[in-house]
């Protein structure tokens, strides 16, 4: 019997090719979309949860208690050694200094580490599960050793068999490869590709002062202190011991300002204050979109199946007359559904694998996602398959229940377009329109974020990073930049406006000896900073960088924060800026217009502009016009002469700013894809519907033509229903979209305002798509000769 049903199902599916194709592709797209989103969510939720000890691994984070809590992670070398010696509840502790930028020389080829290098020791591998494929972990405790992941070893050497080979760091220090690490696990925020031994940090990083090792205040956000505890519930005890250590070895006053805490490693990925801040809401949004799209595809299937009653009712009537029971007929429908959704599933796998590779290449770029284990992938596939089959056989079963043999055979049981089905179509298009509005708004907002300069000018600026070892040649660099006629202005600086890492510290203002309870941000550069970035000086003068007592500029927000309204009144006042210049008290010499130091996700903060050469990391170059490629060529050649052991590296400033909005840009791309998918699926739905509706109304169309209706009149007749559905869907989706999107926009400090054209555009897109979709078949139907359609069989 099953075989018979299979044959019937296959013949039926191949007979109604168009409907089958529309259904299969619609379902396949939706399933692929769900599989993809599921993979993405599982990957994100699994960050740092795969370590054996993950429930008892912690990292040190701290809050600086100012007017607002300032959160940061990382600690100092001294703190790390003290924890190791003095807190018994700690099983293992390591210092993991990640995101290191070094230049490596391997077989006379130069490589930048691009932040993939770290310093740590063998204990790191006791805490985290990154298995060694070759070599002895303990050797990483020796100086001048390095362990590489398999992938990077293959990239550098062309093979993973590289134990004992030498890598030159900064072309000065030879280090030996002692281990190869399995890097098949990628979802960790605490993994690097190149692990140098912590014992060699002094030489390789060129650390001259002992304070790096002894001074408790020598903290850095990338100096992560990771530890595993014997018992996870001793966390608060360890936190207390940590405070005691600070009081004992550093100073008890420090505890007035700082609060030290332990953060569970798996929490880091979603933590907004200390961690990466991956939004869980993004995962929820994606999950809902996935289910929504799947729902849309199911609605298509249900609608097409029910509309096919026209063809199917006769067949079902005959089958009943031949003695088929309801159960048997239902089984037939179910097998058909299972078969169709299986084909869709197989197609979806294909689409998924294509989309997966494509997404890792173009969508996630720096954060490629990983496949989930085959077992759970098959499980979720199976679940989707059966879920769809179940959902889509509800309708046919209802239909069978109602079917009377007599009416069936006489084709009286034409698909009745009842309320439920109409609702389904409207609902389906509401989802699509919601996503379209979402796309319009999100794209506008991300574009706004990426392209808005608050108080500065980004155009025609290049940023070239300059490392510590390169400053010896600063004068030569300065000379050749000055001599280049294509360069309008250049500035050695730490942070250009709109930068991801911005320093700050509290200040003593005027004659006060008290530190303020808030910390302004610092924009650190030389005196060309203003001209290079086009920042407006409102009052006073630009600072002179060569004064022993430093000169500072402040922005308007800072002026107001200090309680002044007139710029003139504050000029000449004293300012001690902690961290910017700890030796000397300086003077405020001018006030600049507000400009953003951070991304536009944060409001403009009180800002001090000043000079501190030890913090410089970049040179920013403002060039004339569009001659960037010629300029880059020249600079690259000059760089090679100056720095034969360095790779010439540069960023276009506007691209660097755009990079601040990676998360938003990802959301933008994802919503684009989701909206396109949903439109495709509703187009499929309409294509299927219009063909059925035309088949059903053939006779009516013929009669109307005989009575004198024009082709356009027939088209209007057919289009009317569709337009009505789209309009109702629009009316449903618009307020929901307005609500959700204004919520979403509220989270941004600077955002666009929702305006009517975004909604009108959505409506126009909806109606145009609909008309285009149904036009071909409708006109064909309108042009049919009534003689053919009215002939009685």
């Amino acid at each position: 019997m099953i075989k018979h049903f299979f044959i019937t199902a296959i013949r039926h599916l191949s007979k109604h090719k168009i409907h089958t194709l529309l259904n299969v592709w619609g379902l396949a797209l939706a399933i692929a979309c769900c599989l993809f989103i599921y993979t993405f969510i599982v990957y994100q939720l699994g960050f740092d949860r795969f370590h054996q000890k993950s429930d008892r691994i912690f990292m040190v984070v701290q809050d600086l208690k100012l007017e607002q809590l300032e959160h940061s992670k990382g600690g100092s070398y001294a703190m790390y050694t003290a924890i190791e010696k003095e807190i018994p509840q700690v099983e293992h502790v390591t210092l993991y200094m990640d995101k290191q930028e070094l230049t490596l020389k391997i077989d006379n080829k130069l490589f930048k580490t691009e932040g993939k290098a770290a310093f740590t020791n063998a204990t790191y591998f006791e805490i985290l599960n990154f298995p060694w494929l070759r070599g002895d972990v303990q050797q990483l405790n020796e100086p001048n050793t390095v362990a590489l992941t398999k992938s990077i070893a293959e990239r550098y050497f062309g093979t993973a068999d590289v134990i004992g080979k030498t890598i030159w760091v900064e072309s000065q220090h030879p280090v030996t490869v002692v281990g190869i690490i399995d890097d098949s696990r990628k979802n960790s925020d605490f993994r690097s590709e190149i692990y140098f031994s912590l014992a060699s940090v002094k030489g390789l990083k060129g650390i001259t002062e002992d304070s790096f090792f002894n001074n408790w205040g020598y903290t850095h956000t990338s100096n992560n202190i990771l530890m595993s505890l014997h018992q996870p519930n001793t966390k608060s005890l360890v936190e207390k011991s940590l405070h005691d250590l600070v009081a004992k070895h550093w100073h008890k006053d420090v505890l007035e300002y700082y609060n030290y805490k332990l953060l569970g490693l798996p929490e880091f990925h979603f933590d907004k204050d200390y961690g990466k801040g991956t939004q869980k809401s993004l995962l929820i949004i994606l999950g809902s979109i996935g289910l929504g799209i799947l729902g849309m595809a199911c609605v298509n299937y249900i609608n097409m199946t029910s509309a096919q009653q026209l063809y199917r009712s006769t067949e079902m009537g005959i089958r009943k007359a031949l003695g088929g029971t309801k159960k048997q007929l239902f089984l037939q429908f179910t097998i058909e559904t299972l078969l169709l959704s299986l084909i869709a599933l197989i197609l979806a796998w294909l689409l998924f694998f294509i989309a997966f590779d494509w997404a890792n290449k173009y969508l996630f770029l720096t954060d490629p996602i990983q496949r989930i284990p085959l077992g759970s992938f098959l499980m979720i596939s199976l679940l989707l398959w059966w879920g769809i089959a179940l959902l889509t056989s509800i309708y046919p079963s209802l239909f069978l229940k109602q079917l009377h043999i007599q009416t069936g055979i006489k084709k009286l049981a034409l698909g009745r377009w009842n309320f439920t089905q109409r609702t389904l179509v409207v609902l389906q298009n509401s989802i699509a329109l919601l996503l379209v509005t979402g796309t319009i708004v999100i794209v506008s907002q991300v574009r706004y974020l990426k392209n808005t300069d608050k108080g500065f000018d980004r155009s025609s600026v290049l940023i070239i990073p300059i490392k510590n070892q390169m400053w010896a040649q600063k004068e030569k660099v300065s000379n050749l930049l000055r001599e280049n006629p294509a360069i309008i202005s250049y500035s050695f600086c730490d942070n250009p406006p709109s930068y991801d890492k911005v320093w700050g510290g509290t200040v003593q203002f005027d004659d006060s000896t008290e530190w303020e309870t808030w910390a302004p941000r610092f924009a650190i550069g030389d005196s060309s900073y203003l001209s290079t970035f086009g920042i407006h000086l409102l009052a006073g003068d630009n600072f002179n960088q060569d004064m022993e007592n430093p000169q500072f500029l402040i922005n308007e927000t800072m002026l107001h924060k200090l309680g002044y309204t007139q710029a003139q009144d504050i000029i000449g006042k004293n300012l001690m800026a902690g961290g910017l210049n700890d030796q000397h008290k300086g003077k405020i010499i001018g006030v600049v217009a507000d400009f953003s130091t951070h991304s536009l996700n944060e409001a403009i903060a009180p800002t001090v502009l000043g000079y501190n050469e030890t913090r410089f990391k970049n040179v920013a170059i403002k060039y004339a016009g569009t001659a960037s490629s010629r300029l880059l060529n020249t600079l690259e050649q000059q760089w090679k002469i100056l720095y034969p052991n360095e790779v010439f590296e540069y960023h276009f400033y506007d691209e660097q700013i755009a990079n601040l909005y990676k998360k938003e840009a990802l959301l933008e791309k994802l919503i684009w894809i989701a909206a396109s998918l949903s439109i495709i699926i509703s187009i499929f739905g309409f294509l299927g519907l219009i063909s059925v509706i035309i088949a059903k109304r053939t006779k009516e169309i013929g009669i109307r033509k005989v009575l004198g209706s024009s082709n356009v009149g027939i088209f209007q007749l057919l289009a009317k229903d569709f337009i009505r559905w789209i309009l109702i869907a629009f009316l449903i989706s618009a307020p929901i979209a307005w609500y959700l999107l204004s919520k979403w926009l509220e989270d941004f400090t600077y955002h666009i305002t929702l305006s009517w054209w975004m909604f009108v555009l959505t409506g126009i897109i909806g109606i145009l798509t609909t008309l285009l979709t149904i036009s071909f078949q409708s006109f064909k139907a309108a042009k049919t000769n009534p003689v053919n359609s009215l002939r009685d069989e």
């Binding site: 018979h4 019937t8 006769t314 005959i318 089958r319 031949l322 003695g323 029971t325 048997q328 007599q406």
Partner: protein, 221 residues
């Protein structure tokens, strides 16, 4: 074999009842060949459907082989239908997606016969109606007469005691119609009870007796 007592069937039209069958009393013996005649709308198809269990009367009693059919549960009624009745339609109603072979096989599948039994019965049917050569063709590849022969073969596959035919020759030309009717006569001589609805006097003459209907009532027996 069949006994109908005071069968009524009506539709509610507005406040009034529009009768399709009005007080039908009918007795049909095993081995009979009955032709039901009458103008369009006289209720003959409805009567056939009531006898064939495809439709239910609003009132009255129906005994089939001594059983009170209308009192039976749906499942038992379906079983009764499967084992004793075969139905032939005016427009053949073959399933388009199935071949001749598979069309004949379908009722046997619903009866849960094993594939071996089915094979034997279908082969027998194909042979008996001389359509062995057409077994792999689809309905659309056959002429109307051939389709109706397949329809009859399908109706007889379950070896029913009663064959119900609703205008079996209505869509056929006269030559094809004659073939079908002589086939019916042959079947009846082999022991199958047949009830057919027809318009044509000529066809009615193939039967052993004729029932005339008008406005839902039997005119004479």
């Amino acid at each position: 074999m069949i006994k109908l007592e005071n069968i009524f069937k009506w539709y509610q039209v507005g406040g009034a009842r529009s009768f399709v069958l009005k007080d039908i009393n009918l007795h049909i013996e095993q081995g009979d060949f009955v032709s039901i005649m009458g103008p369009s709308g006289s209720g003959k198809s409805t009567l056939l459907n009531v006898i064939g269990l495809l439709d239910e009367p609003n009132e009255g009693k129906y005994y089939f082989m001594g059983e009170d059919v209308l009192a039976l549960k749906a499942k038992k009624r379906a079983a009764l239908f499967q084992s004793h009745m075969g139905y032939v339609f005016q427009s053949y109603h073959l399933i388009d997606e199935l071949t001749v072979y598979e069309n004949i096989e379908t009722p046997l599948i619903y009866k849960n016969l094993s594939s071996k039994e089915r094979k034997a019965i279908v082969a027998d049917m194909l042979d008996r109606f001389g359509i062995v050569g057409k077994k792999d063709l689809f309905p659309s590849q056959l002429s109307g007469g051939q389709q109706q022969i397949v329809g009859i073969a399908r109706a007889l596959a379950g070896s029913p005691k009663l064959l119900l035919a609703d205008e079996p020759t209505g869509n056929l030309n006269s030559k094809q119609g004659e073939d079908i009717m002589s086939l019916f006569k042959q079947l009846n001589e082999d022991g199958v009870t047949i009830i057919q609805v027809t318009h044509s006097e000529k066809n009615a003459e193939y039967g052993r007796r004729t029932i005339n209907m008008l406005d839902g009532q039997l005119k004479d027996i």
